[in-house]
Symmetry: C2
Subunit: 218 residues, 2 copies
Amino acid sequence: MPSDKPTMSPKTTDPHIRWHQQLVTRAMREARNRHRSALVWFTGLPSSGKSTLAHNVEEKLFAGHYAAYVLDGDNVRHGLCRDLGFAEQDRIENVRRIGEMANLFLDAGIITLAAFISPYKADRQAVRTLVGPDNFIEVFCRCPAEICEARDEKGNYAKARAGVITRFTGISAPYEVPPDPDLILDTDRTNIQTSVSAVLSLLRERCIISEGGEGHAL
Amino acid sequence: MPSDKPTMSPKTTDPHIRWHQQLVTRAMREARNRHRSALVWFTGLPSSGKSTLAHNVEEKLFAGHYAAYVLDGDNVRHGLCRDLGFAEQDRIENVRRIGEMANLFLDAGIITLAAFISPYKADRQAVRTLVGPDNFIEVFCRCPAEICEARDEKGNYAKARAGVITRFTGISAPYEVPPDPDLILDTDRTNIQTSVSAVLSLLRERCIISEGGEGHAL
């Protein structure tokens, strides 16, 4: 079950950066964990439920003794990407850095749950290519903007409509719908438990986790 | 033993970024892992042995069933920080991003081994502050530049002396010696096994790992 493909191969041609031999490989970590690592990428409009869903999947995986970790706006926009805004180039760089960081979490054997608006198709595609298509699962949290807006406790949609917040995805910045996601969840009509189950089923189908596998309770 | 302090607290005042409730906390992960997480920061001149040492510590920790992961020039300079060069501002940003990423690895319950020249005192101090002093262990890989140069298989020191590589730490860029590191290893005079043992002893002293703790072989 562990993937043979090493994720960490040299990508630069800079001859001054030397490549060390990894003594502990991803395959060794996956064998130890008794599950594969993968990147589950939740994309969708603001307030479409991405982060809530990712945290609930993480909770289930943790309960099942799987190594899992959520990357989302909360722990990335305040930290690694705090220097970036919401202009197009900043959004591209935001997703690029998240993809690179996620790639290291995968290498560390962790099922990584990334919840980001990630509005551009090309950027999501770039992350898929970076981590390898076998390691990337795109989950589209589909929800009409009106519902997202009604659900938005902070009133960001209203502020965006009033022009107080600029470059707000769905109002004043584009969102490119995934043409071929691995999973579509209609988060306006599906409750959280059902949505979590759908993600876990997909992880089983892709052999990332296993039904009642040794050492795992899920 | 798990640390009470949550590492992920809001740091920005941007009111448009909403903070989600973590369902799986660092303390829960540390309790599951039966060890604390911490950031071991290896600093020193190029070819002073930082990365080799970090990988050997990782191997030992993995053998002892501890969750550990190396961040170094190999997996960061080629990925997350591939847009950065070696000018002062780039080095500062390089260490800042690594610190932020390491902070998420800590939150994920992982003993994180960071091996970077990290030439500026202020930047290392900033990482210490970010992750919290109790979570930061600075290891100075001390080695005379002549020995580093003799050991440098790629001939980067020679290229730096010839001006082919510019801004090379120790030759054409400064290295600020840590005034008060947690551990000094004279890597020119100490063999790798002894150095690895010294790091592991320090981790035991700081109650990051435990001697023959339940589930751990080390």
